[in-house]
């Protein structure tokens, strides 16, 4: 039993470190995602982001193919990190409850 508890304690420390790792990486990513709008038959790029709880479109002007690719990749990475962060948070919750969450571990 001691082995399992020790492993759980170590895993909790790992998960907590990982949680802050994902939060840090998410902060590093550029804000917003690129959206293409079709206005009067012409295509325009906007950066869609939230500011103070409000959705905001920022006009981007001409956007190179490379930049579009970069924003697409960022969007994918952000989605993946968010997904993994939620997984880590669930792990932390589970590990804390397994170790009797009321105790400080």
């Amino acid at each position: 039993m001691g082995v399992i508890k020790g492993v759980l304690r170590e895993e909790l420390a790992n998960s907590l470190r990982m949680q802050s790792g994902y939060e840090r990486e998410l902060k590093k990513l550029p804000k917003g995602s690129l959206v293409k709008k079709c206005i009067k038959g012409r295509h325009y790029y906007y950066l869609l982001m939230r500011e103070g709880g409000k959705v905001k479109f920022v006009y981007k002007g001409k956007v190179s193919g490379e930049e579009i690719k970069k924003y697409k990749e960022t969007k994918e990475i952000r989605a993946r990190y968010r997904n993994l962060l939620s997984k880590v948070k669930k792990q932390v919750k589970f590990l804390r409850s397994s170790l009797r969450g009321k105790e400080s571990v």
């Binding site: 001691g2 082995v3 508890k5 020790g6 492993v7 170590e10 895993e11 790992n14 998960s15 470190r17 990982m18 790792g21 994902y22 840090r24 990486e25 994918e76 990475i77 993946r80 990190y81 997904n83 993994l84 997984k87 880590v88 792990q91």
Partner: protein, 230 residues
């Protein structure tokens, strides 16, 4: 979770193989156990639970043949770089796996991580790791091979190590893993091999192994090593 974890481990190995890194590194630690199945194919072998820690040993950090950036290679899988300890050992972390790099300690040892710029990581230098490099096996995984320490060396190394552990739970886990592995090796008919490898290691290490087994009163393994319970 277990299946995802194994799949992720395979994907990491696949990518390291494609980048040509697997030629210069070997898999060590608890994650060797599932890959030993091929070695124990003729006998019943059921590895115990494994943790998220996956360790790669870089035997010669100065002699890496390829130039690659491992953190970048694994980034899209969701691995993030974290630095552990005051010295900044790199850990690549994912909710299912934690990757760490190790290297054999040279000379009197040092606390600083061993820089491996050709792989974009650093490694923790630890004692006794050369013992794992001395005797290795190659295991086929999905068309490529990975290098692992021979199960005998793996088990004896764990027996040396568990007595040096500060963490009691980890020590117990090491002892249980080595016991399980040695018993499977004996069942497979490798008792003579265990004895010959045991006889080839330095006397101090042998004494340490025997002391550990005597404390655990592991008579079966002690008899294979030609030792008696005190």
């Amino acid at each position: 979770m277990e299946k995802n974890q194994y799949e992720l481990c395979l994907e990491v190995l696949r990518r390291l193989h494609r980048a040509g890194v697997l030629k210069d590194i070997m898999l060590i630690g608890i994650w060797c156990l599932p890959f030993y199945k091929e070695y124990f194919s003729s006998t019943t072998y059921s590895p115990s639970f494994r943790t998220r820690d996956i360790d790669f040993l870089v035997p010669n950090p100065g002699k890496i043949h390829v130039q690659t950036d491992i953190p970048a290679l694994l980034k899209d899988l969701g691995f993030v770089v974290n630095y552990s300890g005051s010295k900044g050992y790199i850990k690549l972390e994912h909710p299912d796996l934690l990757i760490e790099f190790l290297s054999p300690e040279k000379g009197r040892g040092m606390d600083d991580p061993v820089k491996i710029p050709r792989l974009g990581v650093n490694a923790v230098a630890l004692r006794y790791l050369n013992f794992l490099v001395e005797n290795t096996i190659k295991v086929g995984v999905e068309g490529f091979t990975i290098c692992l320490p021979h199960p005998v060396n793996f088990a004896l190394h764990k027996l040396i190590l568990f007595q040096r552990r500060i963490n009691k739970e980890k020590a117990q886990k090491d002892r249980e893993t080595s016991g399980m592995l040695l018993r499977a090796l004996i069942k497979k008919g490798d008792a003579v091999l265990i004895k010959s490898i045991f006889d080839s290691i330095p006397l101090r290490w042998r004494k340490r192994i025997v002391k550990g087994l005597q404390n655990a009163e592991d008579k079966d393994i002690l008899s294979v090593l030609g030792e008696v319970v005190s």
